[in-house]
């Protein structure tokens, strides 16, 4: 096996002058094409970890190597270029509510569009065709001109996926992509992510709440508790005991069918 695609070394994030430690010396690596699921209680550091990878949040210490490049040392311009290849999907979709679905999807291409063209909204024809293809792929091509906030939650998240697809990413970071959705829609969205992972070879990092979803879709599970890794292994290796360690003594597993 060649070099892992993503290497995290000693990642630490501290807030408020030392009061809140979100991540404590986290280290792990991810191979290309893996579907890594990160689980843990709220506040365990999942979101922070994901946001450190594309430096939406600045790490306090540690190194992050993406495809051999240490992103913690990049300048902002170089980081922008790096981010083009890293798609991100958010828990609350983070769509531009007043704009059309098409504009939202096209905004995934902003990293590749020169500033003056993007300011005027002049995306190239290839970009527009790509947008329609991706919308078709997530099954929303008939909603292209609807306003983003007119869609249901599941549809909005699919728009988010289409937006990420526009970047033609190598790495996909998803921050609790299905936490705001009902169980049936959750599966539908997760299947799109799985499709991206299997067919396009995108490395996916997903933070999830439900262990059943993690077992079903992930090739590997990472569990965080209070900013530290407490489990790193295959989905089948998590038993009752490990589960209680991760989630605390009173937790009970909930099935998402």
């Amino acid at each position: 096996m060649s070099e892992p695609y993503l290497i995290i070394e000693g990642l630490t994030k501290v807030y408020e002058r030392g009061q809140v430690v979100a991540l404590k010396d986290v280290s792990f690596s991810v191979d290309k094409g893996e579907f890594l699921v990160i689980i843990g209680l709220s506040g365990s550091g999942k979101s922070t970890l994901l946001r450190c990878i594309n430096r939406l949040v600045e790490p306090t210490a540690g190194h992050i190597f993406v495809n051999g490049v240490d992103v913690t040392t990049l300048s902002s311009g170089q980081m922008r270029k790096m981010r083009r290849k890293m798609g991100m999907i958010f828990q609350h979709f983070n769509l531009i509510n007043r704009s059309t679905v098409l504009t939202n999807v096209l905004s995934g291409r902003l990293g590749y569009t020169p500033t003056w063209r993007s300011l005027l909204g002049l995306f190239s024809r290839t970009d527009r065709e790509m947008a329609f293809r991706n919308l078709k792929r997530v099954g929303l091509e008939d909603k292209a001109y609807a306003r983003a906030d007119e869609l249901s939650g599941g549809q909005q998240q699919r728009v988010g996926i289409a937006r990420a697809l526009m970047q033609d990413p190598d790495l996909l970071l998803t921050d609790e992509p299905v936490s705001a959705l009902d169980p049936a829609t959750s599966h539908s969205v997760m299947q799109y992510l799985e499709q991206m992972n299997r067919e396009d070879g995108v490395t996916v990092l997903a933070s999830l709440h439900f262990l059943s979803l993690a077992r079903r879709y992930g090739t590997r599970i990472l569990a965080l508790k209070d900013g530290e890794i407490v489990f790193d292994g295959l989905p089948t290796e998590i038993d009752e005991k490990k589960f209680r360690e991760i989630y605390g003594e009173e937790a009970e597993e909930v099935e998402v069918r």
Partner: protein
């Protein structure tokens, strides 16, 4: 109420009973207002654009003032015809604003002949208004077209430059900009703008080199200004707060109260539209030459009462009805309802509005003196008329300081009253 024939259980109200009669009238009124809305909007837009273009053109070309350039009747006729054509043959701005469009049976696009019929019938049906009172307006019925709300979906909306409304707006904006700037920039302005900075420089220079000879007067006058504003606000609140209960629509139950409500709102609207400076002129006449701050105070008072009552009343009109119903259900009379259901909900907003008004009054009180209303504005006026700019500088500084100080104080306090506690600084990023 079932308004349109497409609703399932539509039954036209019977005209014979008294209730049925009022319902029918209400129904007719509703339909007419719905039908007239886009027409009125379009009439307004076209008329304004015509006047704007004419005015601008006449001014730029001949430096004369003309509003129509055609006889009045021709103007009216032209506007009406243009509206009819626009609504029939395209999608007018008025139609867009109410969110409707003309479609033929079965959601298909209307043909040209259908549109012509619509256009002709427009005159018979819409203009006398009567045709709009039917469940399906006369002109729609006979031409086979309907104005229906639009649905959005998979079709690409046409770019703005290909829609009549888009072009209309673009032309209006251009006409507006051209006319506005042509009219407000008089001849010779540009030359003076570029050549005269020296004169303005003199003033700026004087402002930056203040002399402090009048500082005692300035500070005294400043206190006079502050007190003018405080008094106007305090007494204004004392009058406006009880008055607002009579000016709130949801508190009026008897017809007498309703009449009172309309009267108060009308009079106060009128008073509010007159700037305090104009009121100051009025009161200066009344109060006479020797009591200028009093005149300024009275001017601020009238305007404050008018403004505060309006703000207060609007706030009362938007309270939750839950507590009101609860207190009424327990058998409380009107006063109890006020005291226990209405008042607790409005105290904080009232205080917030009062602070806002105080801020405005301070600003106004500084300048009401320029017309003779006392306070630091009066001192400023006297010094300026005597061309003593360096001495006037201290007045300007004090005014700026006062306004800025009260503004900051007022915003901080208002944050407190609107949110219950001071606004925290934006919290650090969440650690999830």
């Amino acid at each position: 109420m079932m308004h349109s024939p497409t609703d399932d259980n539509y039954k036209p109200p019977s005209v014979i009973t008294r209730k049925g009669l009022s319902e029918t009238l209400e129904l007719i009124r509703h339909r007419i207002s719905i039908g007239l809305a886009p027409v009125l909007l379009d009439l307004g837009f076209i008329g304004t654009l015509w006047v704007l273009i004419t005015y601008g053109f006449a001014w730029i070309a001949w430096k004369e003032i003309h509003y129509f350039l055609v006889p009045d009747w021709l103007f009216v006729l032209g506007v009406i015809e243009a509206t009819a054509i626009w609504e029939s043959f395209g999608r007018s701005l008025g139609q867009r604003i109410v969110g409707k469009r003309l479609i033929a049976k079965g959601l298909s696009r209307p043909t040209v002949s259908q549109r012509i019929v619509y256009y002709l019938l427009f005159h018979i049906s819409v203009l006398p208004i009567v045709g709009l009172s039917l469940a399906r307006p006369l002109h729609e019925r006979l031409s086979g077209l309907t104005l229906t709300p639009i649905l959005r979906g998979s079709e690409k909306p046409a770019p703005w430059y290909r829609t009549t409304s888009g072009v209309f707006i673009a032309v209006s904006v251009a006409a507006l900009l051209i006319t506005t700037f042509a009219v407000t920039i008089e001849g010779g302005t540009w030359e003076r703008f570029l050549k005269n900075p020296s004169k303005a420089g003199r003033i700026f220079g004087a402002l930056l080199n203040p002399t402090f000879q009048f500082w005692k007067d300035a500070v005294f006058k400043l206190f006079e200004t502050i007190y003018m504003a405080i008094m106007a606000t305090l007494i204004g609140v004392l009058v406006a707060a009880p008055l607002s209960f009579f000016a709130a629509r949801n508190l009026t139950r008897t017809p007498v109260a309703k009449l009172f409500y309309m009267l108060i709102r009308g009079v106060l609207s009128f008073f509010r539209s007159i700037e305090p400076i104009v009121w100051a002129i009025v009161f200066l006449v009344w109060v006479g030459p020797a009591r200028n701050p009093f005149a300024g105070f009275l001017a601020l008072l009238i305007h404050s009462i008018a403004d505060l009552t309006k703000l207060y009343a609007e706030r009362i009109e938007s309270i939750e009805t839950g507590p009101v119903e609860a207190i009424t259900a327990t058998g409380g009379n009107w006063l109890s309802v006020l005291r226990y259901a209405v008042v607790p909900q409005i105290i904080n907003p009232y205080i917030s509005f009062t602070l806002y008004r105080w801020d405005i009054n301070i600003r106004m009180s500084t300048i009401v003196g320029l017309v003779g209303g006392g306070g630091i504005g009066q001192l400023l006026l006297m010094l300026l008329q005597a061309q003593r700019f360096s001495d006037a500088a201290i007045c300007v500084y004090l005014i700026a300081l006062l306004v800025w100080g009260i503004d900051t104080l007022s915003s901080k306090l208002r944050q407190y009253y609107e949110h219950g506690r001071p606004i925290q600084k934006a919290p650090a990023e969440e650690s999830a």
